[in-house]
C-alpha cells in the first residue's frame, strides 16, 4: 500500500514551483551561501579520513544487509525493546501512526508535546494531526522552530530553515517570540540564546516528548538520536513518556554497525568530526530518563520502495543532506519547489517511491528535477546511486503515461530524439546519445575523455532528456 502525507496538498509540479523560486533572489542568495560553505567544509571533514571510501562501502552494505532481512531485524528489534520495558507499535501508513501517537499522548494526560526534529513525523504530518486532536506540538529544534514560528515550510532535511538568513530569523523571532527582547540583533549567538529562553520552561515541564530516530540496533534494541543543540537530549531525558516514530528502514543489524554510521553521518551532514550530542537508549532505564517508552515502526510506502530492486537503495538514506548541499538544481530552486518534506536529490527519488503514483503530475515531475550531474552520488555516504534511480524512475514515469513497459518507453524516447535532427544534435552535445551504448541504464566503459570517469566508477547513463530540456518543454 502506498504511503500518504509526504507532499503538501495542492503543490504545483516541480518546474512550476521552481520557476517561482528562481524569481526570488534573496532565497537564491541565502541558499548559495549556505550550500557553498557547507560543501567546502564537508570536503575537508571527509578528506581527513583516509578510509572514507571504505567506510562508504561498509555503510552501504550495512544498510543493504538490514534491508535484505528487514523483517527479521525488525522482529529482533521489537523483541529487544520489549525485553527492556519499551512498547513497540506498528503503523501501516501516516494515519495509523498519527492515531497511535495521539492515543498515547492522551493516555499520558498531556495536551502539549515537545518534539525533536524528525523527518518521519514531518512526513506523516504528525503536527497537524496532533493539533486536530487538541494537542499542541512544540518544535524544539532551532530550524524547526524558525519554520513553525514563521508559519513556513521546511526546505532542507537537516536545516529546515536554510532558506532564511539571520536577518529574517531575527524578524521572525521579534514578531513571534513573546520572550524575545526588542533589541535582539541578528548575531547567531543571540538568536540561539533567544531560542534557549523561549523553550527552557517547556523542556523542564514537558510530560511527553516525540522524537524520530537516526538508527535502531536490532540485536540490542538501542535507539540512536544524533543532534547538535541539546534539545534532543532534553526531550529524550526529561519527560515521563517518550514516543519515537521511526521508519522501518532505520534498523541496523548490530551495535558494531554504528561504528561506521557514526563516522559517516556527522562528517557528511554538518561537516563536523562529530556532532555535539548523540544519545543512545535501550527501552527504559529505571531512575534515568522516561518511565514509558513507545517505539512506532512506520511503513508508509517504504515496503513499496523495497519491492523495486533499483529504487530500494533510496531506503539506505541516513538523511545527512549532503546530496542537497551539493546539488546545482537544489541550490537554485531551494527545497520548497520539490513540494515534499524530502527535497533535493534524495527527495526526487524518495517522494515518488513512497507515494507510488507516477500518474500524478507532481510526483512524476520529481525524477526530472535533476541535471544528472552525479554530484549527489559522489557525496552520498551510503553510496546511493541517485542518478541511476532517477533514470529508472523517469522510465517508469514514461511508462505510466503511455501504459507501455519501461523498456518500450525508453526505446520510444530514443526514437523521439532520433527523428528530429535538431534534437539529435542537442542530445549528442549533452551526451545523451551515450545512452545508446548503455545496457540497463549503465555505462561501464566510455571512450576518452569519458573513460577517465568510468575507470574510477560506473557512470549512470545520461538522461534521455536533460533537466533543462525537459523543463523548457513542460513549463508554462
Amino acid at each position: 500500500m502506498a504511503g500518504t502525507g509526504v507532499t503538501w496538498l495542492g503543490t504545483p509540479t516541480f518546474p512550476k514551483a521552481a520557476r517561482a523560486a528562481l524569481g526570488d533572489t534573496q532565497l537564491r542568495r541565502n541558499l548559495r551561501k549556505a550550500t557553498h560553505t557547507i560543501r567546502d567544509k564537508r570536503a575537508a571533514a571527509v578528506a581527513e579520513l583516509a578510509d572514507w571510501e571504505r567506510l562508504r562501502a561498509a555503510g552501504a552494505a550495512i544498510k543493504d544487509s538490514a534491508l535484505a532481512n528487514l523483517d527479521v531485524h525488525l522482529e529482533r528489534l521489537e523483541a529487544a525493546v520489549t525485553a527492556r520495558g519499551g512498547v513497540v507499535h506498528w503503523a501501516r501508513d501516516a494515519d495509523e501512526a498519527n492515531a497511535i501517537v495521539l492515543r498515547l499522548v492522551r493516555a499520558a494526560g498531556a495536551d502539549e508535546v515537545v518534539k525533536v526534529k524528525s523527518m518521519a513525523t514531518a512526513e506523516i504530518g504528525l503536527n497537524e494531526a496532533l493539533l486536530a486532536g487538541g494537542v499542541r506540538p512544540v518544535e524544539t529544534d532551532l530550524a524547526e522552530l524558525i519554520v513553525q514560528l514563521g508559519r513556513d515550510r521546511p526546505s532542507h532535511i537537516l536545516v529546515p530553515a536554510i532558506h532564511r538568513n539571520r536577518a529574517e530569523i531575527r524578524e521572525i523571532f521579534r514578531r513571534e517570540m513573546p520572550s524575545a527582547s526588542p533589541g535582539l540583533t541578528d548575531d547567531p549567538r543571540e538568536l540561539a540564546d533567544a531560542a534557549r529562553h523561549h523553550l527552557r520552561l517547556k523542556f523542564l515541564s514537558a510530560r511527553v516528548a516525540v522524537s524520530g530516530a537516526n538508527f535502531a540496533v536490532a540485536d540490542t534494541g538501542s535507539v540512536v538520536v544524533v543532534e547538535s543543540e541539546g534539545n534532543g537530549r532534553m526531550c529524550l531525558t526529561l519527560p515521563e513518556t517518550l514516543i519515537t516514530v521511526m521508519g522501518i528502514e532505520k534498523v541496523v543489524p548490530s551495535w558494531r554497525d554504528l561504528e561506521v554510521l557514526l563516522q559517516l553521518l556527522p562528517r557528511s551532514s554538518t561537516a563536523e568530526r562529530m556532532n555535539p550530542y548523540t544519545s543512545v537508549w535501550t527501552g527504559v532505564t529505571p531512575g534515568d530518563g522516561p518511565r514509558h517508552f513507545h517505539l512506532v515502526l512506520l511503513d508508509n510506502g517504504r515496503t513499496d520502495a523495497l519491492a523495486d530492486e533499483v529504487g530500494r537503495q533510496a531506503l539506505r538514506c541516513i538523511r545527512c543532506s549532503a546530496c542537497l548541499n551539493s546539488c546545482p538544481v537544489y541550490e537554485r530552486t531551494g527545497g520548497q519547489a520539490y513540494g515534499s518534506v524530502y527535497p533535493g536529490p534524495i527527495g526526487a527519488i524518495l517522494t515518488p517511491q513512497l507515494l507510488g503514483d507516477l500518474s500524478d503530475p507532481q510526483q512524476a515531475s520529481l525524477p526530472y528535477a535533476s541535471s544528472l550531474c552525479g554530484a549527489c552520488f559522489e557525496v552520498c555516504p551510503v553510496r546511493i546511486d541517485i542518478p541511476r534511480v532517477l533514470v529508472h524512475l523517469r522510465s517508469k514515469v514514461v511508462a505510466a503515461k503511455s501504459g507501455a513497459s519501461p523498456e518500450a518507453a525508453a526505446m520510444a524516447a530514443l526514437g523521439w530524439i532520433m527523428r528530429d535532427p535538431r534534437r539529435f544534435e542537442a542530445a549528442q552535445r549533452a551526451g545523451s546519445l551515450a545512452r545508446l551504448l548503455a545496457r540497463q541504464g549503465r555505462i561501464s566503459r566510455l571512450p576518452w575523455p569519458g573513460s577517465r570517469w568510468t575507470s574510477a566508477r560506473d557512470v549512470p547513463a545520461p538522461p534521455r532528456e536533460s533537466f533543462r530540456a525537459w523543463w523548457r518543454r513542460t513549463r508554462g
Binding site: A68, A192, E229, R256, V280
Partner: protein, 208 residues
C-alpha cells in the same frame, strides 16, 4: 476479533517479505576500514580536538586534580555544583556547595545549580568526544544536561583513538550520551554557533 496492532504488524511484515521475495540478497559487509589508526599521542589529540570545539581543556597530573578543579570553579565563580552520588571525595573542593544526586535532585534543583562535575566512560581522541554511560562517577543523564556548565574528568586510560574503538568498549544497553563540545547549532546559515539548550560551557580535565 480485529486487533489493529496484530494486523498492522503482520501486514507490514508480510509486505516486507513479499517485497524482498524468496531469493534474499546475500550481503557481505566489508570491514576493511580502519578500526584503529596510528596516532602518536591520543591524549594530546583529544585535548586538541576538544579545544577545537571551543571547550576549555587542561591536562593535569592525578595529584593535581583537586587543585585544577578548584581553579576552574573559582574562575567561573561557581557557587552550587552538582555531582553523581559516587562523586569522589577529593573532587569536591571547598568553597563550593556540593549537591549530590541522592535523593534524586528535582528538575528545579538541577536548573538552579551553576554546574555539574562528572567523570566519563570513554573518550574519543579523533572526534574530541567524551562518552557518558551513567556508570561510575557520572550519574543519570539529566544531571549533565540541565546545568549550564559541565566539568568532565577524563582519565588517560579512558582515551581511545577512534569511534570503532570506543563503541567496542561501551555497553549499548546503558543510556549513552556522546558529547563533542558544548551545545551548538548549525541551523543559522549552516555555521556552527555554540550555546543552545545543552550546557553552554564544557570544560574537560584530562588526568594522567
Amino acid at each position: 476479533m480485529a486487533d489493529p496492532h496484530a494486523s498492522a504488524r503482520s501486514e507490514v511484515l508480510g509486505r516486507i517479505r513479499a517485497a524482498i521475495g524468496p531469493d534474499r540478497p546475500r550481503v557481505r559487509i566489508p570491514r576493511d576500514y580502519d578500526a584503529r589508526r596510528e596516532h602518536r599521542d591520543v591524549v594530546e589529540l583529544l585535548a586538541r580536538r576538544v579545544a577545537g570545539y571551543r571547550a576549555v581543556v587542561r591536562r593535569v597530573a592525578s595529584a593535581d586534580l583537586p587543585d585544577a578543579v578548584g581553579t576552574l570553579l573559582t574562575r567561573r565563580r561557581v557557587r552550587i555544583m552538582l555531582g553523581p552520588t559516587d562523586l569522589p571525595e577529593e573532587w569536591r573542593v571547598p568553597d563550593v556547595e556540593w549537591h549530590l544526586d541522592d535523593p534524586p535532585l528535582t528538575v528545579e534543583q538541577l536548573d538552579r545549580a551553576d554546574g555539574v562535575l562528572t567523570g566519563c566512560a570513554v573518550a574519543i581522541a579523533e572526534t574530541g568526544t567524551v562518552v557518558l554511560d551513567a556508570g561510575a562517577t557520572q550519574g543519570r543523564r539529566a544531571l549533565t544536561l540541565v546545568p549550564d556548565y559541565h566539568l568532565c574528568v577524563v582519565r588517560a586510560d579512558q582515551v581511545v583513538g577512534t569511534v570503532p574503538e570506543a563503541l567496542a568498549r561501551l555497553d549499548p544497553v546503558r543510556p549513552l550520551t556522546f558529547v563533542s563540545g558544548p551545545s551548538a547549532t548549525s541551523d543559522i546559515e549552516l555555521d556552527r554557533v555554540e550555546g543552545v539548550h545543552g550546557p553552554r560551557a564544557l570544560e574537560v580535565l584530562i588526568v594522567s
